[in-house]
């Protein structure tokens, strides 16, 4: 247990330290100086945190709902196997190669180096995941539910809101968490499409580590793991509890 927790505890300690050089046992400074400096200053860590939240929430919400709706269309399509196969395409390539392939189109559409471009690029990774994820939801029984609602007089809108969304509630939440995390930790595509102008928290962490600034790196890592920990808590508290 201690071995598992040690890296996380050490990361928090590191984020609160400065001037900690070998062979000194304790750091030269221990306190909230790094946090105050970074969150309110030129490093723009708070801004990166907010940009990351906006990007990941957008990617998570849009890819979850579009994945759910389009996976239904794929399930009822005559060529669903081929269409599902296409969904694996983004994962065949490394994100950096995929980003390089897309860069021409992003340049033409004016999506290079802005938040919208990064959201679209990350959506192209997260959406196929959602599509594959929801592939297992649709089956003959769900079709029977849809037919039943139709014969009871329900419109397709009512079918979605009164039956399909409630039935898929847990899966929708899990998919949202997963796509949020895919976006949150995405580095390769973001660095290519964002061209350094869109500095998400993940990009910032890599920058600090490249600069060998471990104290700031640890601090941004703390911020980086904060939303996943919150999501993990909600997952455990509200989703998995209902699945069992």
């Amino acid at each position: 247990m201690l071995l598992i927790l040690f890296p996380f505890i050490f990361m928090v300690l590191l984020s609160l330290s400065s001037s900690w050089r070998f062979p000194e046992v304790f750091p030269g400074y221990f306190g909230f100086k790094n946090w105050v400096t970074l969150l309110g200053s030129e490093a723009g860590l708070l801004q990166s945190f907010i940009i990351s939240i906006v990007i990941s929430l957008s990617v998570g919400i849009v890819s979850t709902f579009s994945g759910f709706l389009i996976s239904r269309a794929v399930f009822y399509h005559k060529k669903k196997r081929i269409l599902t196969l296409f969904a694996y395409f983004p994962y065949v390539l490394a994100p950096v190669v995929f980003g390089a392939c897309l860069s021409f189109f992003f340049l033409k559409m004016g999506l290079f180096g802005n938040v919208t471009g990064v959201i679209v690029a990350q959506f192209l990774i997260a959406f196929p995941y959602a599509l594959i994820f929801f592939g297992s939801f649709w089956n003959k029984k769900i079709k029977s539910y849809e037919d039943l609602v139709a014969t009871l007089g329900g419109t397709s809108q009512q079918t979605f809101f009164k039956v399909l969304f409630p039935l898929a509630k847990s899966m929708l939440l899990i998919c949202f968490f997963q796509t949020f995390l895919i976006s949150w930790f995405e580095y390769g595509l973001t660095s290519i499409i964002g061209v350094g102008k869109v500095q998400t928290l993940t990009i910032k962490v890599f920058l600090f580590i490249k600069e060998a600034n471990y104290y700031y790196g640890a601090l941004s890592c703390c911020l980086l793991i904060f939303p996943p920990v919150v999501l993990l808590y909600f997952n455990k508290r509200y989703v998995f509890k209902n699945l069992i």
């Binding site: 029984k141 037919d147 039943l148 014969t151 009871l152 007089g153 039956v163």
Partner: protein
């Protein structure tokens, strides 16, 4: 006639599943349809419900052509062998489902559902979730959900197929009671000979996509194709004291 089905044909991948389907049904009557698995019974019901498009032919309900009407516009409820209760709703809300779709007011819903629960002999079960109900209770909730919307026609696709013998018998009696109480017109598909005779005012026999309707039960019993005579002989043989005289025991 209340329901008129004319020359319905349906093929899947060049295989004729339903051929020249022709029959009529009076209001408040039940037509039992007997047939083996894969003879086209389910496809026929789905065509009438509007869930499958026929290749040709026409369907009229209350003298109105509904062949191209969408399922939600037909007021025909299709009941599966599986009860298909919504797992996120309790028994009360499952029964109330169709009324909520029609945006019926809450006091009316409460009154109708409580009356239905009473008719279905489900008192005390209203707040239970589907997983807390027995197979028979689930099937009764499923009936209630269909009947409460006052459908013009009820299509039942082997509704008691998954129930044990005792529950099945009780459900048959309950269904007979409900058809009288709520003036239900229905098509009752089954592969059980006894059930077909018990439940139907008229009986149809479906074979290889063709349906023959017998207006009189005796005609159905006398037709050697239906297998009733064979069944009678079998039971006679069982009750015969001397196995050498046809006894099977």
């Amino acid at each position: 006639m209340f329901l008129e089905v004319h020359n319905i044909i349906k093929s899947f991948n060049n295989e004729h599943v339903v051929r020249d389907l022709n029959f009529t049904l009076d209001a408040h009557k039940t037509l039992s349809i007997l047939g083996k698995s894969g003879c086209g019974k389910t496809t026929m019901l789905k065509i009438i419900a509007g869930l499958v498009k026929p290749d040709s032919g026409s369907i009229s309900l209350k003298s109105k052509n509904i062949t191209s009407a969408r399922p939600e516009q037909r007021n025909i409820v299709y009941l599966y062998q599986e009860d298909l209760l919504f797992p996120h709703l309790n028994a009360f809300e499952n029964i109330a489902f169709g009324l909520r779709l029609k945006k019926t007011r809450d006091p009316q819903i409460k009154e109708k559902v409580n009356h239905m629960i009473d008719s279905l002999e489900l008192n005390g079960q209203a707040s239970k979730m589907p997983t807390q109900l027995s197979g028979g209770q689930r099937q009764r909730v499923s009936f209630g959900r269909a009947i409460i919307t006052n459908p013009s026609l009820l299509l039942l696709d082997e509704p008691f197929g998954s129930l044990d013998a005792g529950t099945r018998q009780r459900m048959q009696s309950l269904f007979k009671k409900l058809t009288k109480e709520f003036d239900i017109t229905s098509l009752f598909v089954t592969h059980d000979l006894k059930e077909a005779v018990l439940m139907g005012d008229e009986i149809g026999f479906m074979r290889a996509g063709r349906l023959q309707v017998y207006k009189e039960k005796q005609d159905f019993i006398n037709d050697p194709e239906t297998g009733v005579q064979e069944e009678i002989e079998y039971w006679k043989g069982l009750s015969s004291p001397n196995p050498s005289q046809g006894g099977k025991l």
